[in-house]
Symmetry: C2
Subunit: 464 residues, 2 copies
């Protein structure tokens, strides 16, 4: 396809995306295809001969779209948002068009340097410790997902700790609300001991229980090595007491890693920063602009307070990657900051987003989402049929039907089956509950009011 | 940015990309900015207020572009290609626009099912073992990079082997030409023993040396667990003897993993499949459509012969990810096939590429690249000033100046400093050498002839 044909088809695709975004509110939010339906509609073998582009677009609409779940719908209240925006899509197009591989500074200096600038900007934007800037001992890097960042944190912590104790003596600590990626990362990194610390009535890790478990493990000859601290858990957006846990970690020479994958975006508003008090005591931190900052997946930020142990754990320099710039020590090679070698020019879309919205624009939307969430929580709290089951400091409210698990699950299923909204049925301990996450780019009071009406009707058993 | 503004800006961005691709041959291939130049040209803080889109585009051209190295240039002969194409970029736009999160089947069924169809197509396209299809005991998945796939293979192998021996007794084997991602992956997975097996005169792993090392390790009470087999090494595209090594691995109950990251694309042409003879004996395999199959980064395929140990190693199911489809066992949840939880709709761009080119179109371009490489190798071989230092079965030729290391390095530096081409200076053992990789989408005989003329002139010490 030559550049001129790409130009024509590109306009068509921009129209397709623009029309999709203009009409996404009209689609059934969850796809209701049966397992295997899309697979069965596609041929069993790849095409031998070239096919006209119109046929591809026809099948995109006819075969693929019925199987798409509409994460960009303003009535997307499921999981967490994976929101997006025009400037992000445009930055993504530019990055794909350039097609550079930013594995080393020298393989495209702008890809590295824009990334450095943007991750340093975020230190100020989110009120993170100044030492995490690249100009200090720390630094940030863009990765694919918070799972990748937690894995890197775990591996770095393991390398530090195995200087004092063998791997099979090391212990990882997480709460019963910590994201599953920490347990998965611990398994991948080869840890054999993962302790699950109980949480309090607000689903925050109990520092006293952590300290006791650490003491018990020490008494058993084990070596506490890593603790995961959540700012905004997946189940309820609970906030662990960062300062208390990080202090315990310091006293015990452990690595403290903060997972703020979802809630990190809220820290662009100073009024929420009390939830991250104590960050100057932690070793690493991660948050996802691709969740709630108008930047399409994938875009994850990972910071360390001290980059040396990270580089010690991740650097390998074979002959085919040696180059003058790397050997000079004057540049950053971000391949040494994570697992993969190859890297997209991901900072470009984040830069487009920051410049289009400005910090004040992002704050405006985040605050609006949080306000809509608080309003919905109040309605639920004021209604005797429903019960809000956890604090809701950000854009998520979790509630249940007072009639119990069956009524709650039934309500969630009816909401999802309507095609008009998507929510996430879950369980908290023994209780069924419904997660409503408000953070899609175009979600407004209209959509939240419509959701409330459906809950209100369904809660009575009447049609939604 | 509402859909109408996105439409307008989207046309502008399509024009920008189309113009870039039309003119990319005119840019100096390597960026020659000084370290820090791009960083210094950008503000120290993020914008507080929204900025006009024209300002962003102005800075993209004025600040970012001088720091871009042009991987999409037809005169890109460095590293390996990271080639791309119109249909790939269009598929990427569609995927970004939809913005779905394909972590579970239920979170967007089409994202999972198209991926299954496409990875199964590739089993036939590349002549891989039929058992690797999802309908058999194996299966494929799309990941970000070959580093990620090698890590997953190493972790799975570790989980299998630790049923028989402790981690600190396990041994990983690779050749002195194996990609650095295997050593890095072994370190991340916590292996403490990595044996580097010597290669023969053609840079292929010596199976006899492997067998001897395994026997010696067994005699020392260690437990051989994993061997990496390369089809197309990074330094020279050498091919390890798959059948011989995989047979040794089977005899020793070891995991055999094939890294065909670059050369896998060539297997779409049946005449190159002799290089992968023995694949039915291996446990896992990876190749990168994002290198040499007209699919923009990132897009890596990972196959296993038996998916059970992979799923045993990678599955974790917290309450917020439980859903009817997953519990029914009728669907695939690809998050259980790799490290990260979130996933892009990457199969879309690969599907666009396959339909646009058809298998025959891809074969045509791959064969052309390989022919151009063979022609250049012949010219170098026929010229007494140069020496081709390794076999060149695919699209890479590695050569040196007969006057020695200094003359070779000087030649590479002069080629790169010209701005008209990019090549990779490297070392093979004690010898300096130059890698010329021919595989960019638009590279033709014109560009390779121009490169040869430059080598010809520079080889004499005259101006290039």
């Amino acid at each position: 396809m030559d550049p001129d044909e790409f130009r024509r088809r590109g306009y068509e695709m921009v129209d397709w995306v623009a029309d999709y975004l203009a009409n996404v509110a009209e689609y059934p939010v969850n796809s209701h295809v049966e397992p295997g339906a899309i697979r069965d509609a596609l041929p069993a073998a790849a095409p031998e001969h070239p096919e006209p582009f119109v046929d591809v677009m026809r099948d995109l609409d006819g075969i693929i779209m019925p199987g798409v779940t509409h994460w960009q719908s303003p009535s997307w209240f499921a999981y967490f948002p994976a929101n997006s925006s025009g400037p992000s899509l445009l930055g993504e197009m530019a990055a794909a068009g350039l097609g550079v591989q930013g594995m080393l500074w020298s393989t495209s200096p702008a890809a590295t340097e824009l990334e450095t600038v943007v991750v340093d900007w975020f230190v100020d934007l989110l009120g993170l410790p100044e030492e995490w800037k690249t100009t200090g001992p720390g630094g940030g890097v863009i990765q694919m997902s918070a799972s990748d960042s937690s894995l890197v944190a775990l591996v770095t912590a393991r390398e530090v700790a195995t200087q004092h104790a063998p791997l099979d003596k090391l212990v990882v600590y997480a709460s019963d609300q910590t994201h599953s990626s920490v347990e998965k990362g611990a398994r991948i990194a080869g840890f054999s001991h993962v302790r699950i610390i109980p949480t309090d009535a607000e689903y925050a890790m109990d520092p006293g229980a952590l300290a006791s478990q650490i003491a018990a493990d020490r008494a058993d000859g084990l070596h506490p090595a890593f603790v995961a601290i959540s700012i905004g858990t997946t189940a309820t957006t609970a906030v662990d007491p960062v300062r208390a846990i990080a202090t315990i970690a310091r006293e015990n020479d452990m690595w403290a890693h903060v997972d703020a994958a979802y809630a990190g975006s809220a820290m662009i508003c100073p009024e929420f920063r009390r939830h991250q008090d104590g960050l100057e005591l932690v070793d690493s931190y991660t948050f996802n602009p691709h969740k709630w900052m108008f930047t399409n997946f994938d875009c994850n930020l990972y910071y360390v307070a001290d980059r040396r142990p990270l580089l010690d754990a991740m650097s390998i320099l074979p002959p085919y990657l040696r180059n003058e710039a790397t050997l000079s020590g004057k540049v950053i090679d971000y391949r040494d900051w994570h697992v993969p070698l190859g890297r997209r020019f991901r900072s470009l879309k984040l830069w487009f987003v920051l410049r289009h919205y400005g910090a004040e624009g992002i704050r405006y939307h985040i605050r609006e989402h949080i306000q809509l969430t608080q309003d919905l929580a109040m309605r639920l709290n004021n209604d005797p049929r429903f019960e809000v089951v956890a604090p809701h400091p950000f854009g998520l409210v979790v509630f249940r039907h007072v009639d119990g698990n069956e009524a709650t699950t039934d309500l969630a299923n009816r909401l999802n089956a309507s095609g008009r909204v998507a929510v996430t049925p879950t369980t908290l301990g023994e209780q069924s509950a419904i997660r409503v996450s408000i953070g899609q780019t175009t979600t407004s009071s209209t959509h939240v009011n419509a959701l409330w009406e459906m809950i209100d009707n369904a809660g009575d058993g009447t049609d939604i």
